[in-house]
Symmetry: C2
Subunit: 367 residues, 2 copies
């Protein structure tokens, strides 16, 4: 074992989980799939100790995991390096800032915040306290995403970006529409825009290498519930250079997580962007340099499927990346990288613009 | 041979071609692929006899095909039952109305006209003279289209329509952008909106069973050439019931002819809608009733590919359908069906609204 490997094994990142949400199970499973020494769960906290106990049993956590309540107790726990925050969005700022103040690194579920001002406060707290910030957009860490990035950045493959189309949806059950935190104005007032639009906007910005659009216009086709929470919405984004992007996010449509990227030289399509169909790998379609055949009786080529294997699921790769960044700070005393914070900030900025356009009756919002 | 088969063989529909455009080659080939007795080419006309002669040689037309010039001569030819009109759009009204006045049935290339008022004049002339009208949208006649229709109309498969996205594009060569009739203001002033937007709008309306949107808004991302002809544009269509459709058509982007239909229960996707990759058949993808798997670590199912064989290419099936309608009028003395005229009218109506929104600086246009 080399020295660095030995060090790695001796010093896993110790996570505290702030809230026993359903997605925390997925997070625990992700950690269990990583090489030992990457990360461990040190403590979990819930509003009641009973809930924490139930979660620990159902997630089969090791008996050494501390069960704490309320959340403050977890922030006082000096054995915790980093917190995972799957709380309702309205509670993100409070707990992320409190965690940063205690020197805990912050891995937070999406949407990162209710608005960009709130996110800025979180990011300032993280910067001031020298802790890493990352949001829970798992797809960014899939090796397929890296391979698509390579094709987009190769001018001969996709070329100049012209049109990006994204759709993120699922058909919510009546129970979800009645009770889920994502339809409650005091918990997740952004509704589908926060929960699903985060992916649409994130993937559009990712495709452009985080080049912000000049103008954002929300679509007048909007569904709100009785409390004014967004159940379905859409928007168009304009860069002023011929590139346009459209997004639609909805709790009222069959499951979809489409991303189509049309460039001057080629097209890239993926239909299971956010959650791949299977865990062991994922694919996308690409077609480049095609034309209609002579007399327009066919195409000169068909799209090709590019398959990419995933050594572990994308959520585990996300934790791996986060742990790597945290180790650089904790063990190497590096400054925290701002890479993931910047991605979150830009995503939130565009999300805010969509929300503002909705609030202003679909007026264009200039960024 | 039955009596009706005998009659069929004795009475092919005799076409006159008004203009030796490149697409007329495809039309001649389509006729050659149909069972004998369906349709024949009786006459072709061009602005010059020389051009007609060259076309006849290059398309290897039978020596019995009459070569005529100018176009009027073809309309005087009593051996012609129907005309195929591949002329520049600005000449459609003149020649379609003149043909109808001479009792010729009209198969016209898309876009049908420059505006709906012009198309109405064509359709009135056709109705008055009891001749069939159809535009050249070939994909409507592919058996894949019939199979997709069946799935859309089955409420358990796609369900209530929520989002339709279409893209139609090709990367025009510098020569095309300089010289093609589709970029000339006096010939095809609608440019990409007419040439490609016709497919986008047609497929959106087709998906909704020709239910017109309430509102149409053009996208501010617009490219015009120096003469003001549209090289690239987009629009959003709203029905006011939660359904939204987006379209993008462009001469400046890699070839695409995408149609995605998202409903409450399922999603349908086709990427080679307008011109199938191959002539002998075509496929589409459909996924219905899927969910994210437990813990959101996959999907409960993947999209299925549905392959549909084509006995002859879609352009031949279009001629077959047109010939069938014409025979009903010519041989059975039926009233001409208005089915295809109505489809053209609705397509042109929405196309007009996109154009009007562009002209009014992207204001919403109510239909």
């Amino acid at each position: 074992m080399s020295e660095s490997e030995a060090e790695h094994h001796q010093n896993p990142i110790r996570f505290g989980i702030l809230g026993c949400a359903r997605i925390s199970h997925k997070f625990c499973r992700a950690i269990s799939l990583l090489p030992s020494g990457t990360a461990t769960i040190s403590s979990i906290s819930s509003r009641s100790l009973d809930k924490a106990r139930q979660f620990a049993a159902s997630a089969r956590l090791h008996s050494s995991v501390k069960l704490l309540s309320p959340y403050d107790a977890l922030l006082e726990d000096t054995s915790v390096d980093a917190v995972y925050v799957p709380l309702p969005t309205s509670q993100h700022a409070t707990w992320a800032i409190a965690a940063a103040a205690k020197g805990k690194h912050v891995l937070i579920e999406k949407p990162a915040a209710l608005c960009v001002e709130e996110l800025e406060r979180i990011l300032e707290a993280c910067e001031k306290n020298r802790v890493v910030f990352m949001d829970g957009a798992m797809w960014l860490h899939h090796p397929r995403t890296t391979e698509m990035r390579r094709l987009i950045d190769d001018p001969s493959q996709i070329g100049r970006l012209r049109l990006i189309h994204t759709s993120s949806s699922f058909l919510a059950t009546p129970e979800f529409l009645q009770n889920d935190i994502r339809v409650k104005p005091d918990l997740d007032s952004l509704g589908a825009l926060g929960d699903l639009g985060w992916y649409c906007i994130g993937s559009i910005l990712w495709a452009t290498n985080y080049n912000l659009p000049k103008t954002v216009v929300a679509s007048p086709s909007l569904s709100l519930n009785q409390s004014g929470v967004i159940l379905s919405c859409g928007a168009s984004l304009y860069w002023g250079d011929g590139l346009v992007a459209t997004l639609n996010c909805s709790f009222l449509s069959h499951v979809s997580t489409d991303l189509s990227i049309h460039g001057s030289q080629g097209t890239l399509l993926v239909r299971d962007l956010v959650i791949p169909y299977r865990e062991d790998g994922a694919s996308f379609e690409v077609i480049s340099g095609a034309h209609f055949a002579e007399l327009h009786i066919g195409w000169t080529k068909k799209p090709e499927e590019v398959a990419v294997k995933a050594p572990v699921p994308q959520e585990a790769l996300m934790v791996l990346e986060f742990a790597k960044e945290v180790k650089l700070v904790r063990d190497k005393k590096s400054d925290p990288s701002l890479k993931w914070a910047d991605i979150s900030r830009k995503t939130q900025l565009v999300l805010d613009a969509v929300k503002k356009s909705i609030d202003k009756k679909f007026e264009p919002i200039n960024l």
